[in-house]
Amino acid sequence: MHDFTYEAPGTVDEAVRLLAAPGDGARVLCGGTDILIQMRAGVRKPSRLVDVKGIPELRQIKFDPKSGLRLGAAVACIEIFENELMQKHYPGLTEAAHLIGSTQIQSRASVGGNLCNGSPAADTTPALIALSAVAHIVGPGGARDVPVEEFVTGPGQTVMKPGELLVELRIAAPKPHSSDAYLRLIPRNEMDIAVVGVGTALTLDGNRCVAAKIALGAVGPTQIVARKAGESLVGKTLDDAAIENAGRLASEVCTPIDDMRGTAEYRRHITGVLTRRTLQIAAERARKN
């Protein structure tokens, strides 16, 4: 691996200063489960790594029934899974976080890192988009908020500018009778990258759907919001026909490729399957809330 320097700031300001340092070669080190592999492969060559795991704001999970969730960008996936509030209020996002890699990876990887890595196949990103999560970013020019659905701009590309740090993800408190779900398909039962990932969040009024948002992963250069699919459900009774139709609309918007993880044709089909399944799971949960 090429040579670089390592810094471990204790505050957001210090981290931003270090990330903004001359030569835009600084990158954030969080769980390291992507960046270290990319550096070994020579894909990324930062001259400085800034370890943000020591910054308190990035390590907290704060939930307030009114203002909702503030999820520190560096919270390890396993901590999310073990958090009862997360399991209760955001089961889909919690599942997504728990699907990333093995137990070993879970101990290190974070939702913030998963997002900043900018992979079209990231598991937590569709779950965040379905929940309309907002990324709270602090940089040399101050703070800004970016909807997660606008965060990833291409494979490995994001809106993050040099010197900027993703501090936390903010999600509104779930309305009554709403919930979310995330499913992915992988060839094995563990350790794989999603062939397709689907995140769904919806709100019910009795059996009538009043809001639904569906986000697709690994079927395009970035995550895709299946708007028509979501809107097609609004005002409708969530029956098999409606769900079937939403699945079809979702598979129509995806733009997958053939690769070693699956064919485009297969991915399009699976998008429909997982859309239907996540809708059923989310609906089931929403009825209980």
Binding site: M1, H2, D3, F4, T5, Y6, A8, L29, G31, G32, T33, L36, I37, R40, L49, D51, K53, A76, I78, G101, S102, T103, Q104, I105, S107, R108, N189, E190, M191
Partner: protein, 159 residues
């Protein structure tokens, strides 16, 4: 020559200080700087688990952590599982149940299984399979490994 960083941490109960380059992984540091070759390199991408160590109670792949990140941490490696000359029940059961063949993945499995039993002393077969899914073994088909962990859990329960 690259500048080195001084790191202090606890490894298997011993306060340890070492110097390493930022680009040296914790695995490389353990093996090449500290001479602790029990943790094995299988892939350097976090996919095989042969380099598993426990950091502050969580099992991690030491190939995906930098040596400098160990500062202030509490580490357990396979070398720290046996107490004096007495094997950990997992080590004993791996031997008795023939849960190893070539043995290269064994340290990683033992460490990951220890991390599991430390949190869940009485896991089901499925819980064991889930917890060990990040550790690849190519020799055994996992059958005898799963049995060994079940047996070790039983022994530890009975105390």
């Amino acid at each position: 020559m690259t500048h080195k960083t001084q790191v202090q941490c606890t490894i298997n109960g011993e306060v340890t200080e070492f110097l390493c380059e930022p680009r040296q992984s914790l695995l490389e540091t353990l093996r090449d700087v500290l001479g602790m070759t029990g943790s094995k390199e299988g892939c350097l991408t976090g996919d095989c688990g042969a380099c598993s160590v426990i950091v502050d109670g969580r099992v991690v792949c030491s190939c995906l952590m930098l040596g400098v990140e160990a500062e202030g941490k509490d580490l357990v490696t396979v070398e720290g599982m046996a107490q004096e000359s007495e094997l950990h029940p997992l080590q004993q059961k791996f031997l008795e149940d023939a849960a190893l063949q070539c043995g290269i993945c064994t340290p990683g499995f033992l460490v990951a299984a220890k991390a599991l039993l430390d949190r869940n002393p009485n896991p089901s077969e499925q819980e064991i399979r889930y917890a060990l899914a990040g550790n690849l073994c190519r020799c055994t088909g996992y059958d005898k490994i799963v049995h060994a962990v079940l047996d070790a859990a039983k022994v530890m329960q009975e105390g």
